[in-house]
């Protein structure tokens, strides 16, 4: 059963690695396109650099992500409680999404310094909107009948929120959290790119800048793979959390027969 599930993506991976390897051999310019084998060797050889980078990027992305989740849910909750607040805040939430983060990043660094603080803030900016938007959608689409049931029993707004609106919004909140999981890592890397030149030791983004300057293409690729895996792990964690919370009752997580 498990093997059957893993086989199709494994075949794609092998095909991809195979054609990459053959392509790299034909092209024969290792500093532009190293073979996957060389990338793997670099991964082992420069393990220390990669791990140092990974820890720093993880720290920034994770902190940014957690803050974005908490802030996003809080802002969406406030918006869902008052029509006026929603109307006045929502356009700015959209701006958060449409602002070109790469262009704003230098400004953030200017204001908050060449520090992890700036990286975290950039990560928050990029991760926040999907959480706000999905949470708000969930909080506002509570079944009308269930709202009436609570209203009939004169339940307080607070109790209605915690017993009804919030649990009903969990599928949407998880959906938003899944989108932001990868984004938070992207935000951290963007932040590190800008900071790059200004710091000695740095996260994966900083290391990528250095490795690229030194034409160490294999290391650049190894770092990119590491950053990608980090986002992937974030995603899988939230996926698992979603399964844990919903597999007993929500269509999206129930076993198909």
């Amino acid at each position: 059963m498990e093997i059957k599930k893993l086989l199709p993506p494994a075949i794609i991976l092998l095909l991809f690695l195979g054609s990459w390897h053959i392509g790299a051999l034909i092209y024969n310019m290792a500093f532009i396109l190293p073979t996957p084998l060389v990338v793997a060797q670099t991964f082992v050889a420069d393990f220390d650099i990669i791990m140092t980078g990974l820890v720093l990027t993880f720290e920034a992305a994770f902190t940014g992500y957690i803050i974005a989740v908490v802030m996003g849910i809080a802002v969406a909750t406030v918006m869902s409680l008052s029509n006026i607040l929603e109307k006045s805040l929502y356009p700015y939430a959209i701006l958060l999404q449409t602002v070109p983060v790469v262009a704003v990043a230098p400004l953030i660094v200017l204001w908050f310094g060449f520090e992890m603080k700036s990286i975290i803030i950039i990560s928050i900016i990029i991760s926040l909107f999907p959480i706000i938007n999905n949470t708000l959608l969930g909080l506002k689409s509570t079944s009308k009948t269930l709202v009436e049931l609570f209203e009939y029993h004169k339940t307080s707004k607070l109790q209605t929120f915690f017993k009804l609106r919030f649990p009903a919004a969990i599928p949407n909140i998880i959906a938003g959290m899944k989108i932001s999981a990868g984004l938070s890592v992207i935000g951290a890397i963007v932040g590190e790119f800008i900071i790059g030149s200004g710091s000695e030791e740095g996260g994966l983004g900083v290391q990528i800048i250095y490795a690229q300057a030194d034409l160490e293409t294999a290391l650049v690729m190894a770092l990119i793979l590491t950053a990608t895996s980090l986002g992937f792990i974030f995603f899988i964690t939230i996926q698992t959390l979603g399964w844990y919370l919903m597999h007993k009752w929500h269509e999206s997580e129930m076993k198909r027969k």
Binding site: T145, L149, T155, M254
Partner: protein
Amino acid sequence: MIAISGVSKHFDEVQALAEVNLDIATGEFISIVGPSGCGKSTLLRIVADLVSTSGTVTKPNKGAFVFQDSALLPWLTVQNNVELLMKLEGLPNIKEKTCIALEQVGLTGFEKNYPHQLSGGMKMRLSLARSLILDPEYILLDEPLSAVDELTREVLQEELHEMWNRDKFTAVLVTHNIAEAVYLSNRVIVMSPRPGKITHIIDVPFKKRTPELRTTSKFSKLVNDISGKLRTWR
């Protein structure tokens, strides 16, 4: 007793209800029938205080509202769904009463199941159990049996009748199904299309409500009479 007097309702320009007056005796079972959009659901919601009105409604303190689609919380187990309203109302002896309520509707053994694992009939039994557990003086029912198949529907009507016989609550049922209204009620209220008002109040004379009643000619004659009154609007 539930007293409805001078109840009118406008939704913007549209008049949904015009001057409805109705007294429902304690322990009485009444049904409201009428064409779609006659405001019978709105009237029920006005009695429930879910919709505002210019008229007045007086009713006992303890009540329950049973919704069309059983209104269960999908993330709660059967057990927690039955306990929900008691918890919201802050009532005592929750565990004990839940156990009895589940037994009464034949859901013992399903405590740990989730609503999606139940059939339509079981969901409605659960919804009824959740309301009865509150020991309500009156129950408002908004087309509670419209989502189940015909066979289950008749069985549930009989169960609902037994519940009413046993617990002696006042019941107001909104339904499209005239046979259901006749089978369950002491009186059937017929409403006209928008703006909704009461056009007929029909006493149902049958003493015993058993499945055999449905096959008698008196029963079908009364059902046909009421259908005839409704047909004049079409």
